[in-house]
Symmetry: C2
Subunit: 121 residues, 2 copies
Amino acid sequence: MKLPGYENPELNAVFAALADPTRRAILARLSEGEANVRDLAEPFEMSQPAVSKHLKVLEASGLIERGQVGQSRPAYLKAAPMKEAMDWMEQFSRFWSGSFDQLDALLETMKSSEEDDLKDD
Amino acid sequence: MKLPGYENPELNAVFAALADPTRRAILARLSEGEANVRDLAEPFEMSQPAVSKHLKVLEASGLIERGQVGQSRPAYLKAAPMKEAMDWMEQFSRFWSGSFDQLDALLETMKSSEEDDLKDD
DNA sequence: TAGTTTCATAACCATATGGTTATTTCTTTA
DNA sequence: TAAAGAAATAACCATATGGTTATGAAACTA
């Protein structure tokens, strides 16, 4: 059995990072330009340490990096890991391109199951 | 501030579902054909209830549905929500297409910061 | 040098997550 | 009808997650 994407800690980290709405908003914000912690904390009703934690998660996933400009540590996007995640998802594209649905296979199974029943007569 | 994808529970659920390697492997397996719980539990060193839990998470995310064939409840892919996730990620594609990197903006910031310093003379 | 700003870290809390074993429910089959 | 099989559910456990407040450490600024 081929298990693509199985045991790929990088994918774990990227998807886990994207699972939180605050982090997605932070990424969206960073796509418009680099920002420091206070910039990012401001639009959310959230403390500064909470934002720092989110940034740490994003940094661990590779989706952002941090700079150092004086006492400020601006975060900026490094979206390459997101591409890896998309590449993994691509293997399922035939299931939403309209030409195929796994439901077909299920119905096929149910049909052959009925045929088995008939064979028993 | 525009926050695309913020407060979108469906995206939360899809990304969270994909963050677990076992669930990704299950999805990969299901892309080759529908399977019941025992089929899915077999290749993993994992109990049947654990797999049932994973299936529940996947079902809640909309990535799979369950059928009923006798006492078996085969799972099959419904990858459409994955497309929604990819659509959200698409907004960052310019950051990995080679033509742009948010690091540019950071360096720009640092440069203008230096200019500020010079201005102080 | 003293104060202010930016950020990180520590300690804590409530809840979620991923696993287990034991049990129950439903369905098929002997 | 009794036994067996498939899957769900319950109860439990350890750890992770997302938040808080309080504090600490650098780096600017007056």
